[in-house]
Symmetry: D4
């Protein structure tokens, strides 16, 4: 299990101090929701950091043995959802999983969905990130027989209400294999997918 630091709302000093202490131990360390300033300090002060600017993740991936028993597919509906998908992927990887990232498939393009059927079916767990109407988890859920973790994203405008539309859509999914995490919570989806993939 990696140690995880949630960067949102913490000071740069605070995050560097916590991360530094955690790195004294031998495990992997993941910082999520780091600001640009946080990332610059961490990259400067602490060796071995990878930085993912879209999602604000910083990873110290020191042990790369794969412990997950299958592949985790991380699917996203549009390019604007990629930051959330990235957080999910980075988390799943640092927790010892092979990840297959599938971008830019949506319910409005059924043929692209179907052309990814094999990759989706090969996964042991599927994470689906989508904003706007949040319909993709239902469609993917109907194509696979494994657990699907749906991540509503705050992508959209107007009546998307910062992800609320997508969240409600996913909670009402007609596919029985879908569970949901908080809006933009790529980390949580990656974490639970890793727990499932370890079983």
């Amino acid at each position: 299990m990696p140690e995880v630091v949630f960067g949102l709302g913490k000071t740069v000093d605070h995050v560097v101090a916590i991360a530094s202490k955690l790195l004294d131990h031998d495990g992997n360390v993941l910082i999520t929701r780091a600001t640009q300033a946080m990332a610059e300090r961490v990259l400067h002060d602490l060796p071995g950091a990878e930085y993912f600017p879209m999602s604000g993740a910083i990873r110290f991936w020191r042990h790369r043995n794969v412990t997950g028993k299958g592949t985790i597919a991380v699917v996203c509906a549009g390019t604007s959802d990629i930051p959330v998908a990235e957080e999910a992927r980075v988390t799943a990887e640092v927790m010892g999983n092979e990840v297959d990232s599938i971008h830019d498939i949506g319910v409005a393009g059924i043929h692209r969905l179907i052309s990814n059927h094999a990759r989706l079916s090969a996964a042991r767990v599927v994470i689906v990130c989508a904003g706007m109407e949040g319909a993709l988890p239902s469609a993917v859920g109907g194509m696979v027989s494994v657990p699907v973790i749906a991540v509503p994203t705050s992508v959209g405008y107007g009546a998307s209400f910062h992800g609320l539309a997508a969240l409600l859509g996913m909670l009402n999914s007609c596919s029985s294999n879908v569970t949901v995490v908080n809006i933009d919570n790529g980390f949580g989806a990656g974490y639970v997918a890793s727990l499932i993939n370890r079983l």
Copy 2:
């Protein structure tokens, strides 16, 4: 154009009186959202009525000439959405359209969607009724290049919030050819579809 009486919140006497007066003229008459008691009185008092108990529609279809230039497809996601779809169909028919009703296709069953591709593509306008996550209009919208009118239904429970989840989903549809009417407003969808099909 048929004359339309909106039954909700009116008394039985009131509805019978209005309908009776409208029938003095020569056109078609449609009563929507009639209660069971309303329907019984209308069927008893006014000749020529057809009653549709699922949706509460009562129709006096005296002129059946088809004025719509193509077919209107009325699609619904689940059996619980059929009452709303019925209201749309009954409206579109009484306004002079051929209707193709396609039931029980949802985003969780993509193959059923695809197997209806020809029927959907044959329509000049498509009405899609769906509750719960309300994702079906986006998927259908991606399959056709004609206007899609989405009707959120109040089908669902918990976080469907009586159709709000479906409504928000449809307003945020990633398919550009989708417009939306009020929750459970099958009549409105049938009406606008008829206007479009007449053009």
Copy 3:
């Protein structure tokens, strides 16, 4: 996999017809959200039904081989949450799992939580049903290292807003191993837990 009929919003005739047809095949059949009247007809017409009046579940459990690899714990916070927990349990059982039901533990009674530590830790997946403030999944999530599926229930009054308070609480859980399903969706939780336990 059992065949599942969602009873809510269907007519008695419809449910009996569907169930009857599904029973022609050899598998298990589960009807959820059956009304009292539905249950009476089903029990009268179709042999082999078990009825669970609290949750409205009807089960035809014809194949009872256990295919789940571990135990699924179904936890609930108060006696009013039991109907939802029952739906989860009945679903998980008919899908081939051993279930350990743990009732009436809440965050206001930490010692009861701790005294159930061994049973919780023995589970391969944990389902937690809670209404009101919906805090139990976070506490249970911190005690186990397996996936926790949280089911908000509509139990409560006033500012519980029919389960919304519990739903929001669970989506914001500080335990990273928690995912959420719709309000009162015991079936969904049992279904996903079964998929996970099968891996």
Copy 4:
């Protein structure tokens, strides 16, 4: 059909790259919701662009043949609604339509409404953009017998809740010929109006 790039949430580089590739083909290209920086780069790098700063639209209008069978009227209630109306107009034009823009008529000024009766009646489809109470589509809807596409705008303050008041008003319109798109979604309205006008 033009190719469309939704600018919101994309990087400048991304948008330029996508637009550049689309321009290799021979069709019209529309970029919506471009930021100021995006527009500057596009105007600098890609020849033939028109920029509409109020709405953030960028248009490569290479084929100007009119394919729409009638006029699309684009109506807006106040000067603050013009950016949304502009997005609708730019979209409808690039999709081959004659557009008649009618600004600054509102339900509080019925005589101005009536004095525009002829222009409204001449349209084959009407788009109505309005914020605040969002009442204009109902009034216009009562004056014409063609489809009306209502666009709620986020114009207003306080209890307008960023367009929610207008959105709800339009969904509850007492004019049966009104359908609704997302808040500020001028593009969607222009797109659907074009589909209708092509029939």
Copy 5:
């Protein structure tokens, strides 16, 4: 000033006792929101009562001198809004005003609005009751130069959210002479209109 008893949530006994005591004095008495049972008891026990079943108002109108300086117009959009308009009228009358009731004019029928211009302009205060999109007060407000009191009604379904859509619309009215009272609060509108008309 009449004495007023708000019937909602009180017992029959309670209401009769209060009204009886108030009638010992010499003034007018108004009971609002009386249930059917309440009305029957009041009509049986207390002489001189008029009962208005649509609105549930009961009136003891013992002094009928007109103290208001002009006419109060009470306008409503549809027949379903009449109960609320009736409560406003009954209140204004018992407080000493001439009332001009104008029913069934809506923004979707501008010509009917205009044909009532003279009656509207003759009023010293105007009350407008409307459900659904609640647009009528803005249109009326633009036609008169006196204060307009808007009463949102709970008439509608789906996204009317029991009057919320109409309420928000009225609060965002583009007519500056509009103020708003609670949903279905015909009494309050009649009361304030009477205060204004007395000035």
Copy 6:
């Protein structure tokens, strides 16, 4: 009647042009919700402007004859509500009224309320601006027998939800002489109060 320009969402050029044109006529002109930049340009370009920076009002008060028949009291609960009260006062004055401004009285200080009883009672109309719990209109309403116009303000934090708490409180006022305008709409309150005071 003054001419009024609503500054919010307009450009500086636009506002200056409109105001300049209106000033060609002989009446008073009021600009509301002007930004700092707008005010600077107006003060520089157009002679005779008064600027009120707290509320963003700009006034050309060329005719100062008093046409209101009594005094309008403008009351506010706390110092943070003063900008809204200022907009109400500036509006009422430019429309020909004597205004009595009473600041900093709230329901938590009943004795201050009572010590202002005479001033409140002397008014012909009362405007009450309050944020947070929005309780002041009810208390003032109980102290006077004239119309009270309540203006919820967006003052507060957390569960004030930008004025929603105050708005709902005022709509549910137990004082029958209270009507409500939009959040922060001091202008509307001043406008309607002026209409009433003119009667």
Copy 7:
């Protein structure tokens, strides 16, 4: 401390069984939110019960020694709030407190408030129950220097949204000595007041 049974959502059998068992011990027992049927069975089966039909409380008050150090005032705004106030009083009494019940004082009647100043000031803790705009706790809070526990009630209609308006008002109280419990939660207010009065 009394034993407490929350009746809402439990079966009659269940409540009788639990209460019966608790009565084997020597303490006081309180059942809250009992239905009519529950009350009838409890009164029939278990000796020593007092039933309070307005609030649905059932009390076994076997030990009546006063342990609270001062008086708890229970104030309510209108007669419709009395059931909630009753639940608070019954709870406080069974927990060993002297209670002073003050009914029917509201912010719209400041003189009634002031005439109760002495009784309010004599209390060691004050509970205030109010629906509609929920303003009373602020006014009472300004009159006393002890803790005030505010109970929003679901009394009201329209924009009271079942107590939400009162709840939000109380959370935003300008009196610093106010804390809030759930809508209609008279029991919780009585319970905490008792804890405070015991200190």
Copy 8:
């Protein structure tokens, strides 16, 4: 009692003037929600100020005699909640109380909760600040038998809706000894806790 100045929404000049005047008297003075600029001016102009930058509190603690009869525990769930806890502590101290601050215990870490049992039990009143799911007050409430004041914080993202999730959770707490104040209202919690501790 200290004099309190609420800084939010006031100008720097205003705050300095008020504080300066209050300091002419002999008591303690507390400024809450001061901006950085406000703090700089106050520290420069007025001697004896302590500044707490996390919460924006400024304290003139001139009389440090302890008048509270016991200890007030101020508990917070995560490091992001510390600013709110700080405001509560600073308030309680300046009102004459010993405060025991307990940071970083949450429901996801039951063993840390239990290891603080003695400190929690030693308190006469407990303040609990928590964001996200807001579950901590229920857990703490179950561990102590004194009043618990819950402060929801705006810490979180997505479906925390700026503290709404925590607020609703706390209002629905299953621990009967919990009352709630506004989101982020550390001051209010410290104030009421001081009143209680003085009894």
